[in-house]
């Protein structure tokens, strides 16, 4: 019997160890990459028990994989959740998380300040399936309350809005959701569990694009859904949890699995049916990323704060929206929910509209122009012509995206070099105008 204490291990310790004890067969200390599609059964009874969820184990990598399990347990631990289900991308994680709760005729209340791709998923694909979304101002919890209908199944927002930078008042939103018997789901990609753990403020479901800071290397797509294990799915508002499930011998998710019901259903129904599973190699790379997440976020935040201040004091820059700046309208909420820093992704404008913005981006030498954030490298983007280009003008305005907005994801390069590149590109943008 090994020594076991009830110690509450620290964040950095769990970032290295949670979900990844040594391999029992080989003793391998690093988590092995289980690059296999499937797993032999002990016998036919074993196979039947596994398929009926009557025992835990591996069947097929679409439903689970030991390398992916290590990643899932680690992120669940870091987010203070009960468990996690990994997905092929952050986007598929959102789709799984929502469709576990809502079907045709159901309704979502969502922040309007979301990543453009999430807005199109909600207003296009989910709408095609008969799930209606009402978009509201994320800074107004009462607006969420006012939009709730008898068919609403979930409230959705982002911890730090992409790209507007609005900070969610998580505690107030959770209170509104719970007062109406609803779960609060929150995409916390921009914050990471190093800066904010929404479950500790009352959120029920936390979603990440692991592609961003969790990996940090910009090599791999992945997403994950974490659940708190505290929500009452047996209230009657969620018949999907309390009615018999024919494909699993009429078991009931809530009766059989209690606090484990949401994650179990998410894997056994949504991941089974949608098939958006995380690749084992990607799970391995995300495990490597999580090991250093806390240290990297310290560096990202330090650089981002310094760069934001430098831009804010430069006369060539019309405006900077970063919740870490003293004059930000989101400063108070950032201090409450993100005391170690308001992340490393923010926006600024050059005035002069779309043209000046384009010239600025084309004059950058080291900073990469691409459609991603949360890489160790500094990245830049013009949302109005890229990530948010499929939105109507009204949706653009509602999402807080102006024509001259530049989004910066501040990386871990030397601060002087980041500022050097921004400086020379600002000059270049003005000279050619």
């Amino acid at each position: 019997m090994e020594p076991q204490t009830d110690r509450e291990w620290g964040f950095r310790t769990r970032a290295l160890h949670a979900g990844a004890r040594p391999d029992p067969t080989t003793g391998a200390r690093a988590t092995p990459i289980f690059q296999t599609t499937s797993y032999v059964f002990e016998d036919t009874d074993d196979a039947a028990d596994l398929f009926a969820l009557q025992k835990y184990g591996m069947i097929y990598t679409r439903l689970g994989n030991p390398t992916v399990s290590a990643f899932e347990e680690r992120i669940a631990s870091l987010e203070s959740g009960i468990g996690a289900v990994a997905a092929a991308s952050g986007h598929s994680a959102e789709f799984l998380a929502i469709t576990a709760l809502a079907g045709a005729g159901d309704h979502i209340v969502s922040s309007s300040h979301l990543y453009g791709g999430t807005i199109t998923m909600f207003s296009n694909t989910l709408a095609n399936f008969g799930i209606e979304t009402t978009f509201v101002d994320p800074t107004d919890p009462e607006a969420f309350a006012a939009a709730i209908t008898p068919n609403t199944k979930v409230m959705f927002t982002e911890t730090i809005g992409n790209p507007s930078g609005a900070i969610a008042d998580i505690e107030a939103l959770a209170d509104v959701a719970h007062a109406h018997g609803l779960p609060l789901a929150i995409d916390s990609t921009f914050a990471t569990p190093a800066l904010c753990r929404p479950i500790e403020w009352g959120a029920d479901i936390v979603i990440h694009s692991a592609t961003k800071f969790i990996g940090g290397h910009g090599t791999s797509l992945g997403g994950v859904v974490v659940e708190a294990g505290k929500f009452d799915w047996g209230s009657g508002r969620f018949p999907k949890f309390t009615e018999p499930v024919p494909s699993y011998n009429d078991l009931r998710w809530w009766d059989n699995f209690g606090e484990y019901a949401y994650c179990t259903k998410l894997r056994a129904e949504q991941l089974r049916d949608v098939g958006a599973a995380m690749a084992p190699l990607n799970a391995f790379l995300f495990l490597q990323g999580l090991e250093t997440l806390d240290y990297r976020m310290v560096g990202h935040v330090a650089n981002a704060e310094a760069v934001a201040q430098w831009l804010d004091s430069d006369p060539r820059v019309a405006w900077v929206h970063y919740a870490g700046l003293p004059d930000s309208p989101h400063r108070e909420l950032a201090a409450k929910y993100l005391p170690a820093g308001a992340g490393a992704i923010f926006t600024f404008g050059l005035g002069g509209g779309r043209e000046t913005g384009s010239r600025f981006i084309e004059n950058l030498q080291m900073i990469s122009h691409l459609a991603n954030v949360g890489d160790a490298k500094t990245l830049v983007l013009h949302p109005a012509s890229t990530t948010h280009s499929q939105l109507s003008d009204e949706q653009l305005a509602a999402a807080g995206v102006g024509a001259d907005m530049i989004r910066l994801s501040v990386g871990l390069e030397d601060l002087d070099d980041i500022i050097f590149d921004l400086d020379q590109a600002l000059t270049g943008a003005q000279e050619s105008s």
Partner: protein
Amino acid sequence: MAERASIDGWTPPSPNQRRAILDRSKSVAIVGASSNPARASNFVITYLLSSSADLDIYLVNPREEEILGQPAFGSLDDLPVVPDIVDVFRRSEDLPAIAEEAIGVGASVFWAQLGIWSPPAARMAAAAGLDVVMDRCIKIEHARFHGGLHLAGFDTGVISARRR
């Protein structure tokens, strides 16, 4: 799990205490065992009978002859052994009577499944020296410490540099 008021004379066992309870137990009597595959008890029994768990399982239900190929006994008194754990799938109001039976046969653990909660039963069993677990699934707790929950993506709380 819903928030529960505290109970005088009983503290819910910590994860490691639950692990120790399971590690030192060899036999489990399931009170309220059902032959209906849609019932949680049937689901849990299937797991406990499978290769996942190394436990002797005894099923108690006076209205059944046989469940999942195992004989069903009329009461705890009818069992051929003294079970280490009495695991209950019955309504909370039935618990004090079952706790009394469990104490009577000399069981060492009184365990009530998810959603089942009885302060009088807990006080009675704890006062008689039994370990008491309530509102917990024995399958989930077994799987927490034997790798099943880990494989299903749940946080087990286990941090270890040991091979096993």
